[in-house]
């Protein structure tokens, strides 16, 4: 049996004190949290919804919801993970409302194996940054992630763009760790396959 670690030896995250102050009505403390995470919340919302106006609304709604529910935050997880979970739920709800896609839940649309089996084995040479300018590269990256089903896009965004751990991603999405790992692998492989159309080494041709 592993020894149970004493809480006293764990480092206390600086957000804990800010949250405690905010719970007592200290808006300056809450403002500090907003400042720290507004960029991340906006980025998560924009990645999931692929729509800037939606991302703006979601950023506001997520922080207001967090403010209203601050008493429910027990500190079992990081404040940022708890906040990202709110932002993800708001984003998925927004996608459902927009109904531009048939399926928007975390559970649907991930059954397909399409694109998850590697087929393109060309090397990426020269590397993408050498091959494309910043603007063109940005267009390719946006277009490519847009084509991924929302369930995969969300996992990839939290784990690889926002750098959450697998456990934090699972917590933020209400998924099991194995489910996150399975979706992450398929998301990465699908993106790799799609990007390879642009980045693969050509015989004598510098660009597609």
């Amino acid at each position: 049996m592993p020894a149970i670690q004493s809480p006293a030896t764990e480092e206390i995250h600086p957000d804990v004190a800010l949250v405690e102050r905010a719970k007592k009505g200290d808006t300056a403390a809450f403002e500090q949290l907003v400042r720290q995470y507004e960029r991340q919340v906006f980025r998560v919302a924009q990645h999931i919804t692929q729509n800037r106006e939606d991302a703006e609304d979601i950023t506001q709604d997520a922080f207001l919801k967090a403010y209203e529910k601050l008493d429910q935050f027990q500190g079992n997880s990081k404040f940022s993970t708890w906040l990202v979970r709110i932002a993800v739920n708001e984003s998925l709800m927004r996608l459902r409302k927009r109904k531009t896609r048939k399926t928007v839940s975390m559970d649907e649309d991930v059954q397909t194996e399409d694109g998850s089996i590697p087929r393109d084995f060309a090397e990426w040479r020269p590397n993408p940054e050498q091959l494309y300018g910043q603007t063109e590269l940005g267009d390719i990256l946006r277009k490519t992630i847009q084509g991924l089903p929302p369930g995969f896009r969300t996992v990839f965004t939290l784990r690889d763009v926002e750098n959450l751990s697998t456990e934090e991603t699972a917590e933020a999405l209400g998924l099991s760790v194995p489910a996150v790992k399975s979706r992450l692998l398929r998301a990465r492989l699908q993106l790799r396959e799609r990007l390879s159309r642009y980045f693969r080494q050509k015989n004598g041709e510098p660009k597609p």
Partner: protein, 78 residues
């Protein structure tokens, strides 16, 4: 180790969490199988390119506007 077995280990491999008993087999497969070596390298580049390039701008003007809107609703009315 087959290519399918290798793919099943890919996520743990990136995280440095492959079971030590399997690690030598994974590394041997990368040396032997050019396809999997390419998949490993290009998947690594896929992750890096999204991590390093901020693909959605969050300009200061927008940040300030959102920040003000959030705080206006949070502050207690006098």
């Amino acid at each position: 180790m087959t290519c399918t077995d290798f793919l099943a280990q890919l996520t743990d491999y990136f995280d440095g969490k492959v079971d030590p008993a399997l690690l030598a087999e994974v590394q041997a497969h990368i040396c032997e199988c050019h396809h999997c070596e390419v998949v490993l390298d290009t998947t690594r580049q896929t992750i890096a390119i999204y991590r390093e390039n901020e693909i959605y701008e969050f300009p200061t003007e927008l940040r300030e506007r959102l920040h003000a809107a959030i705080m206006a609703k949070c502050r207690p009315t006098p």
